[in-house]
Amino acid sequence: MITFDVIGFLLSWFTFFSIYAILSMSLNLEVGYAGMANFGKVAFYGIGAYVSAYVSMSIFLSLAGLNYPLYSLEATMAMVKLASQNPMLNVSVFILTLILAFLIAGAIGYVIMYPTLRVGPAFFGITVLSFGELLRIFLRHYEPTGATYGLTGIPHPFAWIEDVFVKNLLFTSVTLIILILLFLYAQRLVNSPLGRTMLAIREDEIAALCMGKDVPKVKGKVLFIGSGMAGIAGCILAYYIGSINPNIFVPTVTFDVWAMMILGGIGNNKGAIVGAGIITLVDRATAAINFVFPGLIIDPNFIRWMIIGLIIILVLLFKPAGLIPQTYTWTPAWKIVKPLEEKAKRRREKLLSPFKKISKWFLMGG
């Protein structure tokens, strides 16, 4: 029993970890590389989730020839039956909505933010923060997506597997694979001429503009990718928890993601993932504390949030580079630079020297 719980804990942690790692990676592209303070990350996360929920439920219901409103109890009930009938359909709808979530969230990110790219980071931050809040207010009043109650009965891609454990294992593996693919993509993106240009824009956007870079265009590209990735995270979330409502997408989610990115190291994809790992783990742990010690005089949730705030402040004050600091953008051009190669060689030798000594010692001894 106990071992099963541990695995269950790990699976839920890995899933939330993947979702948040994708979010913090996307935020890192925007903030760490292009210097855009996106305080409205949650909006694109929410758009991804709502697009996935809406599209998948509509497809399932219309294929079954039912035309209940999506938010109705009948629809939810019907979805329970429909979801476990056709494995092919489930999986292909999942893939379709992943793509749609990426494209729609990305496109909205591009469109909404383009007007604000020209003004300073302060104005940009305010505008996106407001956008996130407005989206939530809008969703709370928007009947077709169930207003405050949201949508319930999102068809899990592996609903047709009876064994809950296998089902969750499979889903978690898929999310981890998506995370790895996105990580590889992000790594290649930042270690390319585009990554270099993004970094230059973060350093000094006016200088970058005077050096011929079309700064708003590059920022637009980054926002498209960043928002799209957040959309993918939202899509995974929707399928994982099966029902979504506007109150999931409060601004505090954005701050969680910020804390992860700052803790891990601004401007480093690996850091973003490490930060997400640490904070989601702490999160799961506080959930456990909540469960073990009910009725604490101060809600552990509040303490958790205070810790998030503190992490942001303390890291900025005492370790501004985060756990894994930013490095150069490693394009192939570095190969031309001789001194660097020599330096790397020397460093490699230094790293290897203890092993050499040990191996020598073994050889001599043996």
């Binding site: 390319s192 585009l194 230059a200 050096m211 011929g212």
Partner: protein, 252 residues
């Protein structure tokens, strides 16, 4: 020969403050021209107007016969007009090497779709790298490639700024006080280096300096700004002898 840069009746006000009034000037190709004037006389503002930072209130700017006022700074850079800043604006937390590589325009690897696939932009990248490495050698910066710019000395930063300008298709350089805060002897070194660059690369230079003396040996023609107006112009000797200029400088 038509001038490479032509400024016609440019006027610029900030609120009620007059920064430039009816300034007209020409810069010939491959020339070294100075722009002098006391502090606050509008020199930097003129550069800002030429390079598209501010649209002029009135007047026109032509570069290589093309009207450029109203264009964005990045478009003007692409035409070959490079500027430097009074306080150098490099990408300080990036390496010297990256500062050079980032400059060339419209690199293939800057496209969202091509960027993740190294194969698609590898050749271009290597060409850029070769150009950068030879420029860094010319400028004596070869040993600093992996250093962050913030670790460089002031003189090296100034050098890097020019080297960086040459990574693009720069034909004309607007240098804003390249020898600011530098002792006279070092200033002479900098200006002779600029002259060498002009001769080797066939560039045009338009240089701001607020001390008349140091610039005089190097430029062929000088414009003098005072309170936003063109006070005088001519060869360095003529300007030095102009009573109006003497008055402006002593009056300061």
């Amino acid at each position: 020969m038509a001038p490479i840069l032509k400024v016609v009746n440019v006027t610029k006000y900030f609120g009620g403050v007059r920064a430039l009034e009816d300034v007209s000037l020409d810069v010939e190709k491959r020339a070294m021209v100075g722009l002098i004037g006391p502090n606050g006389s509008g020199k930097t503002t003129l550069f800002n107007v030429i390079t598209g930072f501010y649209p002029p209130d009135r007047g026109e700017v032509y570069f290589k016969g093309r009207r450029i006022d109203g264009l964005n700074p990045n478009e003007i850079f692409k035409l070959g007009l490079v500027r430097t800043f009074q306080n150098p604006r490099l990408f300080f937390n990036m390496s010297v090497w990256e500062n050079m590589l980032v400059i060339p325009q419209d690199q293939k690897g800057e496209s969202l779709l091509k960027a993740p696939f190294t194969r698609l932009w590898l050749n271009e990248e290597m060409e850029i790298a070769k150009k950068a490495s030879s420029l860094l050698k010319d400028f004596g910066l070869k040993d600093f490639v992996i250093n962050k710019v913030s670790d460089l000395s002031g003189a090296h930063i100034k050098l890097l700024e020019s080297a960086r300008g040459l990574m693009g298709k720069g034909e004309m350089f607007l240098l804003d006080e390249p020898a600011a805060g530098v002792a006279h002897t070092d200033a002479h070194k900098i200006f002779s280096f600029i002259r060498r660059l002009r001769d080797e690369y066939g560039l045009t230079f338009f240089i701001i300096e607020h001390r008349i003396e140091v610039l005089m040996d190097y430029v062929e023609y000088v414009y003098v700004l005072h309170n936003g107006r063109l006070l005088s112009q001519g060869t360095p000797e003529e300007v030095m002898r102009d009573p109006k200029v003497i008055h402006a400088y002593i009056g300061e």
